[in-house]
Symmetry: C2
Subunit: 222 residues, 2 copies
């Protein structure tokens, strides 16, 4: 889990309440690590009981009391260790690719509609991303964390680049599908289905041997 570590990261910048941290998440890391208040509060409590953060109640007259958290030395140590450990990628879960994978079961125009919707979404993300990227360094300057600007920009770049390449792929997929033979759609694949069980199993095993080295086995991740 890196929510706890992300919280430590922000607390390393200074004191914060849970409510404030939610705001900070939303304007900075939400595109690659979202967090809900209902998860932040218990996580802070857990961090406290682990001795990685301290908490002070700040009594307020007109508003609800605030619980102000700060990072401890142990917390800082834990953060640095985590930051310096290589990160495994999370399991990819991409429903769109599942849909595309079974594209032959679907009328051509339905599949194309699904892909066009994705392309539109991505165009929106790309446009926003370009705007955001320009805003970031200024933001860092305003906030008094100028040196951090580089890193924040790089995370924006990551999203932008990803969106751009995803868009390129989508557009190319659309072109290839448009060009594809109509017979490829709405098909009811017969050969494999009517094979007897043993034959199918044999084929699967043969395939497994052939494809195995090409499969990107998604190993453990934190």
């Amino acid at each position: 889990m890196s929510l706890k570590h992300a919280l430590l990261g922000f607390l390393n910048y200074g004191l914060h309440t849970g409510y404030e941290l939610k705001k900070v998440f939303d304007i900075s890391v939400a595109h690659f690590w979202n967090a809900e208040l209902s998860q932040i509060y218990p996580s802070l409590k857990a961090l406290e009981s682990e001795g990685l953060v301290d908490m002070n109640v700040e009594v307020q007259a007109d508003r609800p009391n605030r619980k102000v958290y700060s990072i401890t030395d142990d917390g800082r140590r834990e953060l640095l260790e985590w930051l310096g450990t290589p990160a495994e990628s999370d399991q990819v879960r991409e429903p769109l690719l599942v849909k595309l994978f079974f594209g032959s079961s679907l009328p051509k125009r339905d599949l194309l509609a699904v892909l066009h919707k994705r392309a539109d979404d991505l165009r929106g993300t790309v446009a926003k991303g370009q705007h955001g990227r320009e805003a970031v360094r200024g933001v860092a300057r305003v906030i008094g964390l100028e040196r951090e600007g580089l890193f924040w920009e790089l995370t924006m770049d990551a999203e932008l680049k990803h969106s751009e390449s995803a868009l390129e792929w989508t557009e190319q997929a659309i072109r290839q599908i448009e060009a594809a033979d109509d017979e490829a759609f709405n098909s009811h694949p017969a050969d494999f289905a009517t094979m007897d069980t043993k034959a199918r199993v044999e084929i699967l095993d043969k395939l497994k041997g052939a494809v195995a080295p090409a499969i990107h086995t998604p190993d453990q991740f934190e």
Copy 2:
């Protein structure tokens, strides 16, 4: 959830047992939708109780009995409807970007090590992806589902393209970080931390207004 729909998708190709489906997942969609047996079995049971699949027990003398599943008309209808519905992207959760975001808290060489590790992993994925892509159409032909080859290839392309662009980004990030001023690292940001609470909150709100339109709000997903 699309595990159920992925199962329906494969059952639409023909009869399968849970055990077989696991194999099929591993050699085809595992890179974008992994599934464990412990999840497949209950899902099939659920699909059955929803009337989307039928089950027949095949008694075997020398081996454990097999439960052979087949898709029903209702199941086929459900599958087609799901396939034709635009897919929202899953929430992105990228620990590496979290680490990079807090890169200024870390010694330069530690951060670079983390990124080099990622770059190496990606180079491996790209190499495998290229091999795999070439194997796919052949696989489709062997299995008797030649028309499906196009779609399978496109899903391989997606992974390959994504890996390639992620690698490009990583390499560029490494270069920028190598070129960065040493003062940007191991820093203990003081200004923001020593501000009083009210001032910080004000800044956060200002930022929210400025950055909001650039933030890609990750909405609901299925």
